[in-house]
Symmetry: C2
Subunit: 297 residues, 2 copies
């Protein structure tokens, strides 16, 4: 399995191709700020891990699909932080792109990263047509039917369906990560879809819970935003205990959904460790809320 | 050569695939508003015409590259009209997307159209790998090096170079249109690049001139914006007479830049008619300015 550094190195190489000496300097600085330094890189690492699981060894193709996944993820964060959405001053513990470079450049950074994702992937497909099915996969994860854009747009509807909203806003890119990883590793993408959906669901439930229970410094971004902005949230729909239960249900299903593959044992161990790190604040906050509930009972 | 209706029909078919029953209804309405009814469709029609010129007959592949070109063009108009850029209330003689649907949906419509353009093109490439080189061509025309995004970002720099700004903001998509059309028609893209660059230059000079000389109702969008928003403009750099001279120079070079191709005679006639329609308001306003200059001399 490729270590995390190979993802970072691939992102650095990609940055050097999607920008250049003719890129306006402030745009280039804002794009760099949007991509580096690393967030958790969960989606590209997941794609690399799935590719290795399918191939039974490291897949050289995996990084070609990992980079575009992270670029569209960064694009979605930059646009989500815009004044017309979350108006967030912080991201990854630093000023957001819109706070540091202004709204106009934040719009352009997002546009550039979406386009760059397809440029990187398109060039990879031209060299290696095996990867061609990953272009519609990535586009579906971004787009207006069931992708990130659809997810964000549900917030503008009077009665959004929470499951559709969450699946589009968070699940779609996890589904793309596992499916694109499967293509890169020579596996069967459809065998991996439900794993991606379920990781996405757990991730979104964790996000909803931590938005209520964590501090801004723990999260590196503003908290309490769902209630403040009137967004659909598992907390509002299920209550905090219900949201925990749903989160734990999703987390419990994840290992069962790993398909049979040459490297699935190693993949399962990797996934448990990776998600353990990501989800540990939720488990910690779950116990503290249970203590609160017991004390106040 | 495919008539304009085939471009409209292809755009309608594409709209039905990039949106669907799961698309949030307001997002879908806003995307429709961004694409229909037709603008001049200059870029997709140019791509179709170049493909036919290269092939010597109608190219079935041409529409596959024409649609994504128009989708990214529509995306750029929607984002240009945002409050943080032009804050334009009008586009194509109707309320702009941001005026009618609000800023948030306008951001999302642009994102969806960029992603959809690559989805449509990616699916076409999967069926017909001959088209694969067109993905980086389109991405270059959108991106942060020399594309639309770079062009718009030059406005955020203290001392933008007018030629780089114009070439990126307008020329890049015309270059992509001719080069992608050449690929679709089996021609040599590099033979067509300079024609695209020069059509783009004439187009941008026309835009700068009409921003000063035409009325808002003639243009279907606000006028006087370059001076109002302090944007780099050929008028500011060259004066109105200098901008006319540059425009006429570019227009005069266009026919000479059409490469030898099986259908180049028919293409030349088509191009003269198409650009004649687009540029006639500039020629008309040129005579009126000359009359004004003579009267005031």
């Amino acid at each position: 399995m490729a270590p995390v550094d190979s993802v970072e190195m691939a992102l650095s190489r990609a940055f050097a191709t999607i920008t250049g000496p003719t890129t306006p300097p402030r745009l280039r600085a804002a794009m760099r700020h949007a991509i580096f330094p690393a967030g958790a890189r969960v989606r590209p690492r997941l794609a690399v891990a799935v590719a290795s699981a399918c191939a039974g060894h490291d897949s050289a193709r995996a990084l070609a699909v990992a980079v575009p996944l992270e670029l569209v993820h960064c694009a979605s964060l930059v646009h989500d932080d815009l004044p017309c959405f979350d108006n967030a001053p912080l991201r990854r513990g630093r000023p957001s792109v819109q706070a540091k470079y202004g709204e106009s450049l934040a719009v352009l950074v997002g546009d550039a990263l979406i386009s760059s994702a397809f440029e990187v992937l398109g060039r990879a497909c031209a060299e290696d047509p095996v990867l061609l099915p990953t272009i519609p996969m990535l586009a579906t994860a971004v787009g207006a039917r069931t992708g990130l854009v659809a997810g964000q747009a549900w917030e503008a509807e009077p009665h959004p369906d929470l499951a559709s909203y969450h699946r589009a806003k968070t699940g779609a890119l996890f589904e793309a990560a596992v499916c694109m990883g499967a293509v890169a590793g020579g596996g069967r993408p459809s065998a991996w879809t439900e794993l991606g959906t379920t990781i996405g669901a757990a991730y979104q439930l964790a996000d909803d819970i931590l938005d209520l229970t964590a501090s801004s410094s723990e999260r590196g971004k503003p908290v309490g935003q769902d209630l403040l902005l009137g967004r659909p949230s598992a907390i509002l729909e299920l209550g905090i205990e219900g949201a925990y239960a749903a989160f734990q249900g999703a987390v419990a299903r994840i290992p069962e959904l790993v398909p049979v593959a040459p490297g699935s044992t190693r993949f399962r161990a990797w996934l448990a460790a990776a998600l353990g790190r990501v989800f540990s604040p939720v488990h910690a906050s779950a116990s503290s809320v249970r203590v609160d509930a017991t004390l106040s009972a």
